[in-house]
Symmetry: D2
Subunit: 459 residues, 4 copies
């Protein structure tokens, strides 16, 4: 399960921050949102320069490249993609020349009507060189150049359907845009006289910026020499922030739409324990994302918290599985059961979600091999029943073990002694302070936008 993207932008003033270097730090703080490619575009008031390549942020950029990205404004993007082979052509930001001059755009989210929009523009003679929605959005903006940039953006927002947190770079300004439902997060920060836009607040911290506020659903924020300007395109039917950001994707030290990600996870664990009368000796979590929920579960249940799984912190994109028969042997490469801690114990194993079920199955088996007497799996979110069409690559419906299987089936499949999920109602309560509504589509199928028709639905 992988997040599609993270975006970052900075408009510097005063000269003590080099914009591209700040983008580098910011993107590195957002690395968990995309590990396939990274890119930065920078503007100096006249031209936009860019660099993007496949790889992690520190692999893509070196000092020489960053020095070449001169200018006081920069945007950046990290991406994970599963569509076809890896191709640098699909790396972002996408930079283009149009009637309004050079523009660079970075996008987090997914449009459900991109194909239709692309087809309509192709009918009128347009060509598309990438398969990313970003190119569609740029074309839509460019087509309304005569109205001026702001109106062109509003026009684009009238026709696209889906999720988008955008940072747009012109030769002398930085613009942040969040879709009318606010499905994907975007926030504003400030360091000195410089302003920062980022998918998550942890990227503000990385560049020493203070959190100012979240960009509102449907808001267009323009940052230029004269300051920060906002235009609000109200969400027609209520905002719908992606609930999965809290469950799994966002970094625990981020605050999204007023909700502390870490605290929401502890609370999910706590609620998961309420009314659960399982008899156990230790609560453990699957590292790293479920540790907070495990902590909450332990606090509420009174069952001691412990560590039962060690993670190899060097696991990354580049680890290869040798072709030879060692694959079976190498199962404990990423996670290893801490035998002495679990041996002879009845374990509550907290995970944040179950997608295909195969990883859970392997962990349960590993714990049993290590001597655990019982393994009770507790999931700090509801069953994932549906695919996501709004920027998270969960899986297709068919691959979801929740799709067409009962809790009992799943429990048997993963080999647990018992299995419980958090209810959607409880999960929603963990983010109660959120400044906007929630998209719960993957759990209950109630998408804000019909993925087939693009029709915008009731909030």
């Amino acid at each position: 399960m992988e997040e599609a993207c993270g975006v970052f932008g900075i408009y510097t003033q005063g000269g003590d921050i080099q914009a591209a270097s700040a983008a580098y730090y910011g993107l590195f703080a957002l690395q968990h949102r995309g590990q396939e490619s990274a890119g930065i575009a920078a503007a100096d008031g006249k031209v936009i320069r860019q660099y993007r390549n496949l790889g992690l942020v520190p692999e893509v950029f070196d000092d020489e490249i960053l020095r070449g990205l001169t200018g006081h404004i920069a945007i950046g993007h990290v991406r994970y993609s599963t569509f076809g082979g890896k191709d640098v052509i699909n790396a972002q930001p996408v930079v283009a020349r149009c009637k309004m001059g050079m523009l660079a755009l970075a996008h987090n989210g997914n449009l459900v009507n991109a194909d239709a929009l692309r087809a309509a523009m192709e009918d009128q003679g347009a060509i598309f060189q990438t398969t990313v929605d970003t190119e569609v959005i740029l074309n839509l903006i460019a087509r309304e150049s005569s109205k001026g940039l702001l109106e062109a953006i509003r026009s684009m927002m009238q026709v696209v359907r889906g999720s988008y947190a955008l940072v747009l770079l012109t030769k002398d300004s930085l613009i942040g845009i969040r879709d009318p439902y606010g499905i994907r997060p975007l926030c504003l920060g400030r360091v000195g006289d410089s302003f920062v836009l980022a998918s998550e607040s942890c990227a503000l911290d990385a560049v020493g910026a203070e959190f100012v506020r979240d960009i509102r659903p449907g808001e267009i924020v323009t940052i230029d020499q004269s300051g920060v300007h906002s235009v609000h395109v109200p969400a027609p039917l209520g905002s719908r922030l992606c609930l999965f950001e809290f469950v799994y994707f966002a970094r625990p030290d981020s605050v999204i739409d007023g909700v502390n990600v870490y605290q929401s996870r502890v609370e999910a664990g706590r609620r998961l324990a309420i009314g659960d009368d399982v008899q156990a000796d230790m609560v453990i979590g699957v590292p790293d994302s479920a540790l907070a929920a495990a902590m909450g579960y332990a606090q509420q249940s009174g069952i001691p918290y412990g560590d039962g799984l060690a993670k190899n912190r060097y696991v990354g994109r580049t680890f290869i599985q040798p072709n030879q028969g060692m694959r079976e042997v190498g199962v404990r490469t990423k996670l290893n059961a801490m035998t002495r801690n679990v041996r002879g114990k009845r374990i509550v194993l907290v995970d944040d979600s179950i997608v295909r079920g195969t990883t859970s199955r392997r962990i349960v088996e590993m714990l049993r091999t290590a001597g655990a007497r019982e393994v009770h799996v507790r999931v700090s979110s509801p069953m994932v029943l549906n695919a996501c069409y709004f920027g998270i690559d969960i899986a297709t419906s068919q691959e979801l073990i929740g799709h067409g299987h009962s809790v009992e089936d799943i429990c048997r499949f993963i080999g647990a002694d018992s299995l419980k999920y958090l209810s959607l109602e409880d999960l929603c309560k963990t983010v109660e302070g959120a400044g906007c509504g929630l998209c719960t589509g993957c759990f209950d199928g109630r998408y804000p936008i019909d993925p087939e028709t693009g029709e915008m639905l009731e909030g």
Copy 2:
């Protein structure tokens, strides 16, 4: 602070395990012991083939290279070095031809009389192409070829002074050697009919092997077609396992000389809390190595455990600091304070050790910036007063903040509200079950071997 090295060896029988691939998994599990270079040598009964290069294990090896390392026996090595520039010539295993045929050797540890031994051999016409002790050891063994390999190894052990856990590969056997004090760890495992040697038990887990036992101080274990044979060279004055393996270096899921690393850390935290009457709202640990101790402290003190620092899990060897003025800004790149968790709170911050003091200072400052009202630092080991001469690159004595400063001085330097260390007596109790004595040189200067003279001291 970096561990010098990790070693791994496997003698396979039955053909379902490819030795070099197993070494790859084993080394990856030991990656935390050395990130500069990695190497594997494999023997097929006739010749030894090898590959080694700078980089992390998954960067150095690919499938094609592993396939080329044919043979049923393999050894491997990961290394971190601070001596001079990086140079692949110093990567291990070192492979050499000598009177006894081809040998490959991988070494974890440090000899204190290597220079003298090298000089003596140079007097007799030897040349040295690397700066690693491994080459010295190989020469010493080769010189006694006429006695046969086992006797040659014993002769070598008579003259070298220092720490060494060795895996030695001949064309048809695998040999494990641990120095008479057992300063560096080495253990034996078994999977099917195959035998494994590794610096830590977590590497046994990685290849599906069961832990059999620790190699004893002064033991030479030979594994060949006829099974496992052991020769014991008794430690003259009692065994002295490095205590710092438990404090910081070893992986929490390893068991060394009978002691569960994770449990010893929890226990250290627990003991640290006994008699500590600090008033606080939350106990947090510095990720990842001090989290277990923080947990133990919280359990004992009754102060709630919480997460206060988020670690960017993509931080690695390759992260560059751009030259521009962003360095100051980028302080929260590796660790970030979780503002909402710590704001307004009195924090007990547990760390495993303080070496130079600069990292602690930065973390304390970060927590205060994030709103912590008080920061009480608790260290789950005693003050580090002395350099290590036996394989751990701590720092020179002059760089150690413990060297010539009082606890009060250090407390002031790091900006904490209070500072306490665990006593050496308590720390030793956390590993009470250990099958051997302990080297506590970095804490109390009581080295097993005089680093100047090579004299072997009382246990």
Copy 3:
């Protein structure tokens, strides 16, 4: 002086040739036409796949990449660019989706009205992601999709002004297009039932294809399952093949528009010698491009031919000049005077052209240092007086030593004892058999198309 590009295309039938591999060989034979980037796109009747990167052909492609480019049709491109930094975004073929499906296009040449065309399309909302003309051409074709591909190409040819040899790939056909003046070469070959298009005939040889014929100026050749179809857009004012292809760019083993490149160079040397009464002991040529002309000069003049300059055959794109003061010392890195051959002799040094004069100056000096008594420079083409706007990166007018300097000035600048150029009249006679007229713009300013206005001029 560098050629802009080379193009290649193959439509295979019968299955014994893998199209992408053939393109690899073909591009390698055209490597002299562009060393910055290389790319191949392949079609299998359904989709187009592509790969392109910076580097020489054998650096860009490996077996795995070629295997991934499945399909029976392929096109390829090699490119040299001087506009700004190297950027893979400008590598070709450009692949795009449009109303007619996927298209891939590779272009050799230069449009003089690309900016105007781009601006006009930007006015209508188009965006441009590269700075290459190929993207302009693709857009122009896509805009006329409703007419069908062939008519869309004809429409494009009505509006673009400049030189273009194009290979266009659809999902199931291969199309070759040569501009109405035929400024850049393009030829057709056949191997078995497969057809090949290439910038030069040497690329046909590389894949074992027989030369069939040159594509005619203004011709559109479509190759698909039903065979080879041709549509001829007659050149309005007579064809104008680039004369510089023969002087310097093309490979000596190529035949272009009926003229053997090698023979035309020998003939140029021969004509250069007619009426030249210089007294000399040896004729030498500047390797590699002027050796044929030197041979011709020697034959005609009766002065013995000899080798006086040795070329380091490993000189390539990657040779770095260390920063230190060695640059002066390293002057003989690429070419070295053969001292024993030239010492004490009166030398006729034949070069194919003089652009900036700096290279000639260095060679003359090197020969004198090696002991040459006299150095008479003979140039097998006329003075280059004007920049090229049609696809050859000679230099700007200002950089041309021929611009505003007399023969005497230049002779003095390069330090020769005498200097003579071939007349344009004579040069034209060396290619007398050519099937089309010639562009002589760089010599006499008579461009087929006004580079400012795009007006098409008299032949």
Copy 4:
């Protein structure tokens, strides 16, 4: 057929030349002598630093690496090896610490008693980490450290049997050594107050140095602060320079032992034509090494010289042959017949040597396909009948087509209309001015040293 190695050394004075950069240029001029690996070691009066890696000289070194190789003295090495896989461990110079301090050594040549010497030293406890003779030589020198460096070198020269041109670097001196037969070349040059040693004089030219003289067979030249000192170890039985250096290996612009390589090749061609009554229309040479001989043949015979084969000048180490069926098709990748030049003609094809016969066969076939009516092959050296044991990797005897086949057999195999070789007597006359005798072992089996016994034979 590949030369084993090239060596270079420079002792700078005055500070205007950076020694490592000069070595870089010098090695690049010797690149034809070895393309597998390159290395440079530099000394600054105190320590020796080095860098070596697989690849061509410009691929191995960049500006940063060269800057790191500080010091006023440097040596370098290029290597081609066929023994087993490529391994950087076998790259040179080999740097070692011994009783006399740090030494770096680079070797061109081959010892016939290396195995025996290695075995003898292994008996005494030595280990060997590489398979190169250089390590053997360094050990032999180190063993006699007590005698001082010069005597230690003389002692080494007493026991080694084979060919060696050595450059040896100490912390403050540069030493050149040529074996007593002078089988491999080595010369001395001077630029300002700096002295240069190189395998061929073309490397002197590359750094702007004047040729001073060849190092004499058996000479040891020491260059240090006090100047150039020479000790001569007389060749016991007369000098024996490798004749194949002139035939094929050396660069045409080099002068070796007083003989101009280029002129010797022209002369070989000339002598080949004497008495040859073949009727033909054109003489062509196989590029690049046989062009001079073809020129000589044409001059003598009166048959016109022409170009019939074009070489792709981008062919290099990295060209891959795709796995697919294209191999047959790609035969004209490296060399292409110039069809218009050869069609209908009777051709004399001059090559410098025939080793396995397969390349000649392919070229003859290519010329026939291109329309040549007759192809008469003339070889500017005698039949190669025996393997080389002194540093040139020709082939094993069994692979040599000259081994056990008559001229008629070979003529039939390569498909020529006729075939003639130059006689050994004539070939020796082409280098008549050489300052020393010749090794003709590959032609007549008269090796200076018995390859089996190491016995030194009559001159």
